[in-house]
């Protein structure tokens, strides 16, 4: 690339910026900002608190719903199955739903952290590689031309769509000798996503039946998924999470810019491929299981970064725990807020997450990316 898009990640005016050394060797200052927790002991303590919070949220999501159950009943249903109706509700409906929330949340959050680290753009979310658009496009085609109406039918199709489109984005984005630079990946991803979303909505607007199905799918929900969905996506998400943790170290080097990362011995090209595979698996599986859920992948990594600083290893761990908190909590809240109707989890996440984010950004210490 010989030219610089005005693409330095949204900078912090008012602070001195290191002059950029070139489009690929840009230092956006991310590498120098410590988080709120400055010692590993503090970070570990915070992680412990987050894990406990997550456990409480999971337990709450088992007990609360259209029919709320007292905690002893939940306990009995889990560990002393007695065949009562409450036990069936917990075992067949709420446990798979809570566990699905857990893995989908972790997948969305970690894929967001990965894509932000890879593109060095704090505004990036997993959707930027075309995951949501690909899944949505495939589901639209499935409804319109294959006559699919069941959720299980969407699952495989949306996962396939996500993988195909992400691969296409990566292939187009890595044209030329410079390879898949962050700016190119971002722009290609956004453009291709927009094209697919445009065609999807054109189809939906020409076909009211498709429109009706799509508006339900597009809200994103964990309701009525069952154990099958959980077992179907679990292997993909597990592999994705392992790849994410393995590439965290190299991403620390990549954060310094491609040139510096190379001189530190990191293999930039290989890291990119591994990260893109991980993002595809994580976000693709999550979207296949629950529909497009925004905001989690965009925002949880920010919150994690503010707390633990720029080390990707800690960011990944925190995101892995905090993102499910947001998703499971939102899912539980969505069940009771409009009871007896349910509010889709994709709608609730923004309403719970956004105020937290605004409070954080108004804190004095938390003004770095």
């Amino acid at each position: 690339m010989s030219t610089t898009v005005a693409a330095a990640p949204a900078g912090r005016p008012g602070r001195a910026k290191a002059p950029s050394s070139g489009p690929s060797g840009r230092d956006d200052g991310k590498g120098q900002r410590p988080g709120l927790a400055r010692t590993n002991a503090g970070r570990s303590l915070g992680l412990l608190i987050a894990v406990v919070t997550l456990a409480v949220c999971l337990l709450g999501s088992l007990a609360i719903g259209a029919r709320s159950l007292p905690l002893p009943d939940v306990w009995n249903a889990l560990f002393a199955f007695d065949g009562s109706e409450a036990a069936f509700i917990v075992r067949d409906l709420r446990v798979p739903r809570a566990l699905l929330g857990l893995i989908v949340g972790a997948a969305l959050g970690v894929s967001g952290a990965l894509i932000q680290a890879l593109t060095r753009n704090p505004l990036a979310d997993p959707g930027i590689l075309g995951v949501n658009a690909g899944a949505g496009f495939a589901v639209t085609l499935g409804i319109a031309f294959l006559g699919l109406t069941s959720f299980e039918g969407y699952l495989a199709l949306s996962f396939a769509g996500a993988i195909v489109v992400t691969t296409a984005v990566y292939a187009l984005g890595s044209a030329g000798r410079a390879g898949a630079t962050p700016v190119k990946l971002t722009l290609v991803g956004v453009a291709l996503s927009a094209v697919l979303a445009g065609i999807s909505s054109a189809i939906a607007l020409l076909r009211p039946d498709v429109f009706d199905e799509m508006r339900g799918w597009a809200a994103g929900s964990l309701a009525a998924r069952g154990w099958d969905t959980f077992w179907n996506v679990l292997p993909f998400i597990t592999v994705g999470l392992v790849l994410a943790l393995l590439s965290a170290r190299s991403l620390n080097a990549v954060a310094l810019g491609d040139d510096l990362a190379r001189s530190l011995g990191a293999s930039v090209g290989r890291t990119r491929v591994v990260v893109v595979i991980a993002v595809t698996l994580l976000a693709g599986a999550a979207t296949a299981a629950a529909g497009p859920i925004g905001f989690v992948g965009l925002m949880i990594p920010h919150i994690a970064r503010w707390f633990v600083g720029p080390d990707q290893r800690w960011i990944m761990l925190y995101t892995m725990v905090c993102a499910p908190i947001l998703l499971v909590l939102s899912d539980t809240v969505g069940r009771i807020v409009l009871s007896p109707q349910e509010l889709q989890v994709g709608i609730v996440t923004a309403f719970i997450g956004a105020p937290v984010l605004i409070l954080l950004v108004r804190r004095k210490k938390a003004s770095g990316l």
Partner: protein
Amino acid sequence: MSTAPFNFGRPTLVSRGRRWSFRFDVRTALTCAVFLVLTAGAVLVSLAYGTYEIPLGDVMRALAGNGEGGARTVIVEWRLPRALLAVLFGAALAIAGAVFQSISRNPLGSPDIIGFSSGSYTGALVVMLISGGGYYQVAAGSLLGGIATAFLVFVLAYRQGTQAFQLIIVGIAISAMLGAFNTWLILRADIEEAMLAAVWGGGSLNSLGYDQLWPVLAILAVLVPLTLATGPSMRQLELGDDAASALGTRTNVIRLVAVVLGVGLTALVTASAGPIAFVSLVAPQIARRITRTSSVALVPSAVLGAFLLVVADLIGQRIFAPVQLPVGIVTVSIGGMYFVWLLVREARRNS
């Protein structure tokens, strides 16, 4: 006119008078001229084609003011205002996009970053799906929603001056909440109403006429020159706040003025035609790649935006005729594909 005596790397034309001087980058000027001609051509074509086709000769005669009654009515009364609005809206959106991309120093920068688009969609949806209302009520609702959201984002992000970073984060947060609310509104609505709302949300020039053209023209005549005047200062802002201050730019003032103008331009288009997606994102980037300049520029962006929207509207009207697709959906599809192709070609050429 004479060529510049120094070699600045790119051919430029300099024109000096006693009180003024202009410097034209040759490639930029040529690009603008070519795309202006193409835009004019596209407008002519969109005047001639439709359910009722009219030969180009008759179109010219009707535009010149003479010609038989029927054709004249179709061209001057029905098709011309729509085509002109497409030109104006495209230019306005592209300028707004260039402003926001320059200020946020991010190719994804757009009025969305301060929550404007989702706010105006919310306003329009509330009018369409809850309170009910015609064209002007929807326009007012979207205007109110967008401006209220932008204001809210500014207030929440304010802390001893607005910093771009906080603005973006707060904007994303508020947008996400409004987006979720919009999804919910669409979900709980009747299918017919929801589809009408989705058409508005796609951005459409259907049923626009002279009633909309004159006010839009008047407002743009104020906003566009003001925005172009901030261009040089924004070039300096792109160097970073410190460097810009050192060069004598009042960074906070310029940024605020530019944001207000950018929002004003977007608000005008959104209120009249719905949120036409992607023109503001893609036109500055396409222009930058065609003119091969180092940063997004206002005038080439405007010309490209106009061209893009006219062509997109023509396609949207004709491709599934008699069903008209919202123009926003076409801009996204066509503009996006062209943009991908440009990116790939650029990468190939550089290697």
